[in-house]
């Protein structure tokens, strides 16, 4: 059956003298291995060296602040609804007068928790957020945890620190 005309019919006649002697093939093979012996290893020694994973890698979550330093999240719950793993939960609270510098909108998340064992890092929360409040950082992974009480991350770990603001490639 000829479907693609890509079939290559191999003629398997007797081996030639050079092929039967093995030695030319062995010398050729050894030349190849010697070439690789002097070429640079492709290994990245992981814990010490880290590969750049691209601007769209979905790593550790962050709750962004705006330029003035107020939290963007308004506790609308869309991220929690979008989350397929049901990892996100929050408690909303009304902003008191005098807290305008802390929270951008009139409503804010008093509690915002992500269960890192449930999270599958799909990034749907980031897509659902209308306020550009939650992002998955491209350059930071969630560190390994060993204890049960380290699993649920609250606002203390999630909210962006002003001294080390998150900037994705391509942002101004």
């Amino acid at each position: 059956m000829k479907l693609s005309n890509k079939t290559k019919v191999l003629e398997q006649g007797e081996m030639t003298l050079a092929e039967r002697l093995y030695l030319p093939a062995i010398v050729g093979g050894m030349a190849t291995t010697l070439k690789h012996f002097f070429s640079k290893p492709v290994t990245i020694r992981y814990p010490e060296q880290k590969r750049y994973l691209g601007p769209v890698y979905r790593g550790q979550h962050i709750l962004k602040r705006d330029e003035a330093g107020a939290e963007r999240c308004t506790a609308c719950g869309l991220c929690a609804v979008a989350c397929p793993a049901e990892a996100i939960s929050m408690v909303a609270e009304e902003r008191k007068p005098g807290e305008e510098a802390l929270y951008r909108e009139e409503k804010y998340a008093k509690v915002y928790e992500i269960n890192m064992l449930r999270c599958i890092f799909c990034g749907l929360c980031e897509e659902a957020c209308p306020k550009q409040a939650i992002y998955l950082q491209h350059d930071k992974m969630v560190p390994v945890f060993h204890e049960r009480d380290e699993v649920i991350w609250g606002k203390d770990k999630l909210v962006e620190k002003m001294d080390q603001r998150y900037l994705r490639d391509g942002w101004k």
Binding site: E11, T16, I26, M30, F37, P41
Partner: protein, 374 residues
């Protein structure tokens, strides 16, 4: 009496140093085997234990000692223990006759840098290497395991088959030198008259047989994982397994030293006269030791290089190569060498013999092989 004691002490020191060098080289062969394998596969290799992983053999040794030393219930206990011991013993005994350097004169007394210069030197090497198969055979038999036994039988038949061609290759060396003593074989080759130039065919036969005798790839059928699990050391664990593996690396190093002795001038190196004039004969001798070690290590590298290049032979191919390939070739080589000695032009005749052989093979090939169907 005093002379005797000083000679005895000198020999004891030489034996001790050779023993230490052999073990050290064997230990670091395991590290460099892995490093070379890694480099050839574009990897980095072991680099965690110490700088560049230089302490890896130490870590391996600790691991080996910590493992459970298991003896199968239905095995022959004493033979099971004797197997790796014999392997190790025979591997270490071979180096006794290898001349590691020329004579050194201290306080008017001359010592050969050699374990013992016996007049049957190369026969000793040959005999001990043949004994080495007992270690494998006994280990495989005592394990009371089908695969171990099959591996041991393979090792035995392979070693015996390749010893014939190896012996024939050595015979040509004896014809040139006229002596079995390794020391004399080296002395004949001084000043660049290395046997490799007179015996290129013999060297190729010898190195192929050396690969088979050391059970190294492409002839490592005794431990063919796909067919025999681990071969003769299937049932071995802990330091007994370590001994088997160690013996293999020692054999590699020693066979490298033997090849350097037989074909590459032993401790000869270019510029030996210059060094003797400038620094005295003692220094020249010690540089010669370095030259021999360098040559041996180069062979160890070739062993590893081949291992990470060539896949294993099939068993019938192995036997075919040994019996119908190498033995007739070795016989032809003996005839050619004899002719060279008779005509008094060994170099010319050996080159002519090689060319004649290739031409004859080519003509034979043209006459017998069916053409590929176009």
């Amino acid at each position: 009496m005093e002379l005797l004691t000083s000679v005895f002490i000198a020999k004891a020191i030489i034996v001790g140093v050779v023993f230490a060098i052999t073990l050290g080289v064997a230990a670091y062969s395991t590290y460099f085997e892995r490093k070379i394998a890694a480099f050839m596969q574009d990897r980095v290799g072991p680099d965690r234990a110490g700088p560049f992983g230089i302490l890896q053999p130490l870590a391996d040794a600790v691991k080996m000692f910590m493992k459970e030393d298991f003896i199968p219930a239905n095995s022959n206990k004493w033979l099971f223990i004797a197997g790796p011991c014999i392997s190790m013993l025979t591997a270490l005994m071979t180096s006794a006759v290898v001349p590691f350097g020329d004579t050194v004169t201290i306080d008017g007394v001359s010592f050969d840098l050699q374990g013992i210069d016996v007049n049957i030197g190369i026969l000793w090497v040959f005999g001990i290497v043949s004994l080495g198969v007992y270690g494998i055979m006994i280990g495989g038999w005592a394990s009371n395991n089908k695969f171990a036994l099959l591996g041991a039988i393979r090792a035995a038949s392979q070693n015996i088959s390749y010893e014939l061609a190896m012996g024939m290759a050595i015979i040509t060396i004896l014809m040139i030198t006229g002596s079995l003593s390794t020391k004399e074989i080296v002395e004949v080759q001084q000043n660049g008259h290395w046997n490799i130039f007179y015996q290129p065919l013999g060297f190729i036969i010898f190195i192929i047989c050396a690969f088979a005798e050391c059970n190294r790839t492409p002839f490592d059928l005794p431990e063919c994982e796909t067919e025999l699990i681990g071969g003769y050391h299937t049932e071995y664990s802990s330091m007994k397994l370590g001994f088997y593996l160690f013996a293999e690396y020692i054999n590699m190093f020693i066979s490298g030293a033997v090849m350097a002795t037989l074909y590459f001038g032993g401790y000869d190196y270019p510029g030996i006269d210059f060094v003797t004039q400038q620094f005295g004969s003692n220094v020249a001798s010690f540089v010669g030791v370095g030259a021999l070690l360098g040559k041996s290590l180069a062979f160890v590298f070739v062993f590893m290089w081949v291992r990470w290049t060539i896949p294993r032979f099939r068993y019938d191919q192995l036997m075919n190569l040994g019996w119908t390939g190498l033995i007739p070739l070795a016989m032809y080589n003996v005839v050619i060498t004899g002719l060279g000695i008779l005509l008094g032009k060994p170099f010319m005749v050996s080159v002519a013999g090689l060319i004649l052989l290739i031409a004859a093979l080519f003509v034979y090939d043209q006459l017998t092989v069916k053409k590929k169907i176009a």
